[in-house]
Symmetry: D2
Subunit: 360 residues, 4 copies
């Protein structure tokens, strides 16, 4: 190559908050990947980086848990649930759970047919009562047998289960003979909100398996699956391989975790993203007709607002989704620019004023 390739800038400018998947790779993950790229290394996880990443998880959780890596959250959740279920079993989840609404039937595919049983609650968070209601509604062989509960921490709408809430759910699971899985696509954001030890909302509270998300928190790809009950992880390495989730150059899936966990970036990134959501919430708190649809506890703010106002906001150049209840979803990431958050707040205010002027 006589001269360097030219890669013209193609990304969003200015920054958008439509998804935390729009963000790139954070410096700590990048640096680790760069370090991992020196020289050659054994394949399929028999390298030092994979060992080091797994150990970093064990240290963070103060647990001798089994650690596996998958390419994305859909696979991580589905593999974990399939390990806990047979095809004729069922999984109890919230109506807004990602496994139910946004994984294109992946849990059913990986498990060869396990049915998701949706428990509807007022705020989208599962409760012991809701779980018990679904789990005990049928007990005949004509309907899949409940076997697992999955909770999303924080939920798709950004709400965080407290330690006590998880403990209560876990106790219900144990009483009903169910395993407890946690979809932690934004697990770090929950830890940041609660200010607790990761163990407190997982194994110490009764969670059996955690899918810990890295992608939305500053990595290119990669989720970790942690089995706190090692017996449940039997032959899980075969499962990952067969399902196309074993990376040959595993070091590149593992090293970013080393960068994130050892440096503390996993938590700082989440704190930053949560902070941006709070910043926006605070900036528009006084606006009439405009309100968060859900408590702002993690890195999401769902904005309830008149349709005309949202339309105006789009015309001002903002991208966002409205698939949940028609509200505008804003998701913040490790790289969200607080100045840009202020711009968004200002535009919401301006749109609100324009809307009010028309109405008047």
């Amino acid at each position: 190559m006589s001269q360097p390739q030219q890669f013209a800038p193609q990304q969003f400018a200015p920054q958008q908050f439509a998804s935390d998947n729009y963000a790139g790779i954070c410096p700590e993950a990048w640096a680790a990947m760069e370090a991992a790229n020196a020289g050659s290394a054994p394949a399929y996880g028999n390298d030092d980086w994979t060992q080091r990443a797994a150990d970093a998880f064990r240290a963070l959780f103060a647990s001798d848990c089994e650690v596996f890596f998958a390419f994305n959250g859909t696979a991580a959740n589905s593999l974990a649930l399939a390990a806990l279920c047979q095809s004729y079993h069922s999984v109890i989840c919230s109506s807004s759970a990602h496994v139910e609404t946004d994984e294109c039937g992946a849990p059913e595919f990986f498990s060869n047919g396990s049915k998701l049983l949706v428990a509807t609650t007022a705020d989208g968070k599962l409760t012991p009562e809701a779980i018990r209601g679904v789990a005990t509604s049928r007990s005949d062989i004509h309907f899949p047998k409940p076997r697992v509960v999955t909770i999303t921490q924080p939920t798709e709408t950004g709400q965080v289960y407290s330690i006590d809430e998880i403990r209560a759910i876990a106790a219900t699971c144990r009483a009903l003979g169910l395993k407890l899985h946690m979809d932690g696509a934004r697990f770090a954001h929950a830890c940041a909100h609660l200010g607790c030890d990761p163990a407190d909302i997982t194994w110490r509270a009764g969670v059996d398996v955690l899918c810990f998300g890295g992608t939305k928190n500053g990595m290119a790809v990669g989720e970790a699956i942690l089995f706190f009950d090692r017996a449940l992880a039997q032959d899980f390495d075969y499962r990952c391989k067969q399902a196309g989730q074993l990376a040959s150059k595993m070091r590149f899936l593992a090293a970013p975790w080393v960068g994130m966990l050892e440096s503390g970036a996993w938590l700082r990134n989440a704190e930053h993203a949560n902070g941006c959501a709070s910043q926006l919430a605070a900036a528009i708190r006084d606006l009439p007709e405009v309100a968060p649809m859900f408590p702002v506890e993690a890195n999401a703010l769902f904005l309830q607002a008149p349709a005309a106002l949202l339309e105006d906001l789009r015309e001002r150049g903002w991208s966002f989704y409205t698939f949940i209840g028609g509200g505008a979803r804003f998701m913040f990431a490790w790289d969200s620019d607080p100045a840009r958050v202020d711009e968004l707040a200002a535009d919401i205010r301006a749109a609100r004023e324009a809307s009010a002027a028309i109405a008047a």
Copy 2:
């Protein structure tokens, strides 16, 4: 982070040739990934990098093919085969095909049961006769109906199908109503060996679907699936998503391909790796009792040698696998150091002499 993280070197030193998966990320792929990391970008493939990578494939193949990206070769092959098969169909492959020997039943899993029918040939390359033999051996509903032929180009043992061989296989497939899939985990190495246009050994020769490997050729992760018959790609995006193979931050899966394809590195890397295999073959050609098990056409050299000699070689610090016929497998990569290849040749020669001395 007050001070930078320390990542002590952990990789192999000196370099080993046990697998081309031991190599890291090549500069062109890295530079593209770095460029892609600027700013934010839409998720799930709706970004410019993904479009640009797909277009680069279409340009390279002079074909308006459908292009998809998967995380690894196991998934790419399995998804492609599942798209061509129903569960009660079968796939004809060589006894040494990676789908048969090294994917832990992934094709059967993704297809929900499609059986692999192994055609045995003298050199591991499928032939029209071998295919016809397997395809016509049964025609009753008590045995899975043949639906697809898969060939590995080059084979697991480093042999390359010629254009004419592929044309003949494709003609047989058409005559028998079978689709033709190519596992191109090292497709670039076959192109480098043949010096042909990629189209010549794919759609122009009658291949329906190609899995084009990037990982073994200098990328961190990522394989491309090319459907030359676009009708076969119907709803394939849903299939990828459901199977956990849709990257949310797709740009990081796509950008390295842009780096590889636009710069020509995809071919240069393969030529280099092939060259190292040839270099080793040439360096030991005169040695008695030591010989390549297969023609050295791509980046592999399988060394037939007395067990004691191989043991000696291990003691001299060399790593290699012997799972195929007990021979020592050496696989070269984009970063294989010719000086190190010379060291290997010298050690083989020394081991051979030591062995001869003992025998004498």
Copy 3:
């Protein structure tokens, strides 16, 4: 065997109406099975009985349809849906559909993950609006793509779709690119109610595939799957075989259909069963506090009544299920005894009077 085996009577006496699966084999099915048991015959459907049964279906439907036989309704429905779907597709059904509520995830299992999307309607019958609502609610690859609509004729609660209703649904399906499947576990009962030609509510109205039930209508086992669009039946024989639904001694699955169809018993049995439901409905029409929960159109009557009354009825020796809305389900069969129906009516009346006396 020196003396005949003794089989003491073990069945219900007196007759119960808890399920139409409690009935035995009707004389016409039995006679055909007996005739089929003379001598030996080719296996796996290559016998005259299987041909004759398939021809009888084609004559009845005035259609050159493809006909297959499965052991039970769960398998028939699941195989048919799997033939219309890929794993990443979805099936739109009613919330009370048997495939959703009583097949233990069989559709998901046979299809390797196709999701059932429940459309809720006031009376449990799907409508064009309800189908359109579900089918168009999502159109992104993060959710299974709608591919099939399944309607149950009559519904689980005994309501019959009119010819016009089916036509309207079929038109909606065509407009949306969906296939239309009919679960006809009690298909004969719908024909008996409508007094129409079987073709009128199937292929002439736009149904693609029908599962025609025999078990609930007087057979020991056996459901027929009719593909009016023969192209959809491609390789379906392989599908049945692989899924464990190919009978080796197929004549015993086919002959009862010959007995049923050629004699007209298929319709007479259903008319009788429907008549018993009507008889009961008429006999209790005047009773206050007691009413059918749904229009009585087929062989079911769901009785809304005070809990104490139902309890009293149980004490009087009647068996019935209450899993739908707490009402008592009575299902009549080909062998239901009208005198026994009168006894049931009399006991309901007596229980109602006892209940009223207590209340007074």
Copy 4:
């Protein structure tokens, strides 16, 4: 129906021995089915016949085993293997095993991908050495992990494992951590040959799960699955239901077993069929150029003979298959007529003489 239906005779006349699936229902099974058809009975196995059949199995095996019923052998084997395996596990079987050669990928389908690993032996019977060879050939996650051994008793070619042979295999399985499944499609014929207690070649010898075939031994449909280790049967009822193998009118699947087991017909039928095979073998023992391909121990005789002789036999009106090694397969059933066996022997002799005359 004003006059009885006419069912013209359609069966083979004279009798053929191409398959034991060509035979009808034996008197004992028929009588039980007839007795079971009196009145109504609870569905889904909650009837007395099902209980009585299960108890008859437990008495016959002197074991408190778990008993389930499936419609056919393909389903019974596949369900049993799926209960013992996960999708990434493998099943070791003989190259002539029905699960490998004649079930259209059903084991792979029911298990969602478990691979069958074929162990080749001289006579088609598995041995400890052959099992150990396959089981230990790989131990890496790139290949499915061996989990079950399945043996067919008697084999597809009519050879019977001795008690000692099964014990030795079971010991090997235990040593390797493998479960042992027995495909007993013709289990009765093995018992008849060995003259042993059914327990001696199953649980007492170390078999974990047995599929006991009824269809080939005089029933219309129906195989029993016996779990001698009850823990392995956990939730197996759900598995059967989901896979379309739960009969609603279960009494008709169970009652024939009552008729067969309580009367002793299960063994008499098999003894008769075995006797016919021996009769044929004895009758042609002296013929040159004509010989059994395998020891005649059960109800099969595979005849090695010149192609012209077999052709002559076909012209004399005999039907038979030649899919195993080109030999003519004759399978005898409970209803095989010894006089007709003599006719076959006479025709073989005549064909041999004609063939010899031509050669001379």
